[in-house]
């Protein structure tokens, strides 16, 4: 039942399904204020600044749109507000505070106020210590998944928010809602970027 549909979901919904209960460039501009175009539903100002600068450092704008261009931070706020439990929300608040406290201790400021170099340092620290996601089959992790912590959760959710945004899904990835056929082996050069759906 539905096993096949779940394959596609595996990567993208990972964030939503697995991570939500515990819950996340080069900097283009200093994130000293919350984005002017955004009134967060869940995040407090300091948290919103953290998420905006984190997603921007993860997926900055290049010749393709960055995470901020597709409002990944705004979506993350919305999804935490609308789909997380109150317990999960409080846990996330605590994790964000801890993350910022570590930045202050190690680099002298909260994440959003760090230099580009210090942001990269702070994130590399997390990359080396944060547990990884298990592989998944049909939408569910295989084996026992240990909690991956704030950083990798937020990274996964950022990728999900980015890749499922309409702009990336329709204009950057290969959008083909009705393929009409299945061809098992085509040269990648004929396709280019990954399929969007």
């Amino acid at each position: 039942m539905k096993r096949r549909d779940a394959i596609k979901r595996t990567g993208l919904f990972m964030g939503a399904v697995v991570i939500l209960p515990s819950f996340g460039s080069i900097l283009q501009s200093c994130q000293s204020e919350v984005r002017a175009d955004w009134q967060p539903l869940f995040f407090r100002d300091e948290e919103a600044r953290l998420i905006s600068s984190l997603v921007d450092t993860l997926l900055p704008r290049t010749d393709t749109p960055g995470a901020l261009d597709v409002n990944a931070d705004i979506f993350i706020d919305k999804v935490v507000y609308g789909t997380n439990t109150e317990e999960g929300q409080q846990a996330l608040r605590a994790e964000m505070a801890t993350f910022n406290q570590e930045c202050v201790r190690n680099y002298g400021a909260v994440f959003a106020d760090l230099s580009n170099g210090d942001k990269v340092q702070a994130m590399m620290r997390e990359e080396t210590k944060a547990p990884k996601f298990n592989s998944a089959v049909w939408g569910t992790a295989v084996g026992k998944q240990e909690p991956v912590g704030f950083y990798r959760s937020m990274k996964s959710i950022t990728l999900w928010a980015y890749l499922t945004s309409e702009k990336i899904g329709k204009e950057v990835l290969n959008y083909d809602p009705i393929p009409g056929e299945y061809v098992g082996c085509v040269p990648l050069s004929e396709v280019g970027n990954a399929w969007s759906l």
Partner: protein, 568 residues
């Protein structure tokens, strides 16, 4: 499609009542209606008309407020079935409300229900395999359970019959343990799957890797369109390309003019007439108004789904049947089975970085059973066997989230297809154990004040030994064919995750040890037929839905013959 007639009449005695409109109920309705019987289908959920009631069929991820994630309220509503990992915003409306329909897990058991016209035929995996002679002989040979009263040859013409109408794509192989169906052209393997196939079949003589046999049309059939490779099946297919009651059997039944389908009709019990020695109708509770209604019919087909059918039978008590309808043997509710699930191996495949695929194939690969199919393949560790499903694909963001990278290059790579992965996951047969059972729970009532089910079922030593072999073989096969970073896994799922629950009102030769005869008639009330998963005497290791279709068509044909002879 013509509108459905939902105007059921209390005064009328229908030729037939069909309880449930899922895979088997749809077939019962089609066959009985086409043979001229005025047939009342009782569906406990709402009407779901093909195409019209598939609200999410064309949605993209960004069309959902939360891109598919469920809200806390939705998770609460489906607090049981979310364990499956299959429910998203796109399909949530096709899953039953677990709060309104509670059940008790004496031991952990996942019971996935879909309460609407079409039932789980909207959500199923479409994998369709004939059972083999090995399956029907299994109980007799090793002594577990009771012998099936039928053999492969009894079902063979009915397999062909339903396959021609349902439309099954696949490739013939001529294997005795997995008989070929009447096939439409197979779907295609992708490059990595072809590579693994050739290596595997060379390294492991006697093992085969094939494209899944699936109820997806690869050519138009009877006005239904072929698969468009969108892989959005579980939302309902606008082309009718996969088999569902909604797209296939119920419209056919409706076209005869003999179908009445009454939604929101919860069958509470079957009415038994002591004088006549048979059932005369059913008691229904209207799910919306709570009104109690009785409907009469000459024959009754029970197709509510394995456990729901047995729940109705257990709840149908009378002087003649104090322990549940047709339960002279005491076997009603017993011998519950499911396939073991999510045990296997996966890894990465190098060398195909410049290759990709086009289309989203709603199908994968299949490795047919190779243990205990001959003297040479006999295991001394376990009885019966298992098959694998799986596939190759290029991974997405899950791999990227693990990479110790971020920034511009990371983002550019994210937009490219990820590494090739390949996985297989086994489905093993479960022996029929008397003590794996369901019983009526009269303390925990549902929204309508009705008794619920208490489920007491577990996998035992033989299933554990099969699972061990599944994982060992999976790792060995993947490593030998050159898959990298092979990881074996066993998620130790409780029964129910396979969503192949079978048994609890089994067929058998002897009324003292079974509920149904060789034609799916209740031994002690022969105008009642049970042709959903409840009837199964053993559970093979292959997916059961095709066998439900064949058994139902065969039983419906017999029912009409018996009616015409005035035998029932």
């Amino acid at each position: 499609m013509a509108n459905f007639n939902i105007d059921a009449q209390k005064q009328v005695t229908y030729d037939a009542i069909v309880i449930g409109s899922g895979i088997s109920g749809g077939w019962a309705a089609k066959e009985l209606c086409e043979k001229g019987l005025k047939t009342l289908v009782l569906e406990r959920g709402r009407l779901v008309e093909h195409v019209k009631d598939y609200p999410t069929m064309n949605d993209d991820p960004w069309d959902y407020e939360y891109r598919g994630a469920l809200t806390p309220e939705q998770r609460e509503k489906h607090y049981k079935s979310i364990r499956s990992g299959f429910i998203g915003q796109d399909t949530e409306h096709f899953y039953a409300n677990d709060q309104e329909n509670p059940y008790t897990e004496i031991k952990p058991f996942l019971w996935i229900r879909a309460h609407q016209m079409g039932g789980r035929s909207l959500l199923w995996g479409k994998q369709t395999y004939r059972w083999s002679e090995i399956d029907f002989e299994a109980n007799a040979k090793d002594g577990y359970g009771v012998d099936w009263p039928i053999r492969y040859k009894d079902l063979e013409p009915w397999y062909t019959y339903v396959e021609k109408y349902a439309g099954i794509s696949g490739e013939p192989l001529g294997l005795p343990q997995l008989p070929d169906s009447h096939f439409l052209p197979p779907m295609e393997l992708n490059c990595v799957e072809k590579h693994v196939k050739s290596r595997l079949e060379k390294e492991f003589p006697g093992r085969h890797l094939i494209i899944g046999r699936a109820a997806h049309l690869t050519e138009p059939l009877n006005g239904r369109g072929k698969c468009q490779y969108r892989n959005r099946c579980s939302r309902g297919c606008p082309y009718g390309a996969y088999f569902s009651s909604n797209a296939v059997t119920l419209p056919a039944a409706n076209a005869t003019g003999n179908l009445i389908i009454r939604p929101f009709s919860i069958v509470q019990s079957i009415i038994y007439d002591d004088q006549k020695g048979k059932a005369t109708g059913v008691r229904v509770i209207d799910a919306e108004t709570n009104e109690a209604i009785e409907y009469k019919a000459r024959i009754i087909f029970c197709n509510a789904s394995t456990l729901s059918t047995t729940q109705i039978l257990l709840n149908s008590k009378s002087d003649r049947f104090p322990n549940g309808f047709g339960n002279d043997s005491g076997e009603l509710g017993h011998n519950l089975m499911d396939h073991t699930y999510r045990i296997g191996a996966l890894g990465q495949v190098d060398g195909f970085e410049d290759k990709y695929y086009k289309g989203r194939r709603p199908n994968g690969i299949y490795i047919p059973r190779y243990w205990n199919i001959s003297e040479e393949t006999k295991s001394d560790k376990f009885l019966r066997g298992f098959g694998y499903q799986g596939g190759g694909f290029r991974a997405g963001s899950r791999v990227a989230a693990n990479k110790p990278e971020f920034g511009p290059d990371f983002k550019d790579n994210l937009l490219k297809p990820g590494p090739w992965e390949f996985f297989i996951t086994g489905f093993a047969e479960c022996l029929p154990y008397h003590e794996n059972k369901v019983s009526l729970d009269t303390e925990n009532l549902d929204k309508w004040g009705q008794p619920t089910l208490a489920i007491d079922c577990e996998f035992k030593e033989n299933e554990k030994a099969l699972n061990k072999q599944i994982e060992e073989d999976a790792v060995e096969m993947l490593e030998k064919v050159g898959v990298k970073n092979v990881v074996g896994f066993n998620n130790h799922h409780e029964p129910g995750y396979g969503i192949h629950e079978m048994g609890t009102a089994r067929m058998g030769k002897d009324p003292k040890t079974s509920i149904l005869n060789a034609w799916n008639q209740v031994h002690a009330a022969q105008n009642v037929f049970i042709t959903d998963g409840a009837c199964m005497t053993s559970n093979s290791c292959v997916n059961p839905s095709l066998t439900y279709m064949a058994i139902t068509a065969r039983a419906a044909n017999h029912a009409v013959e018996e009616l015409n002879k005035l035998n029932i």
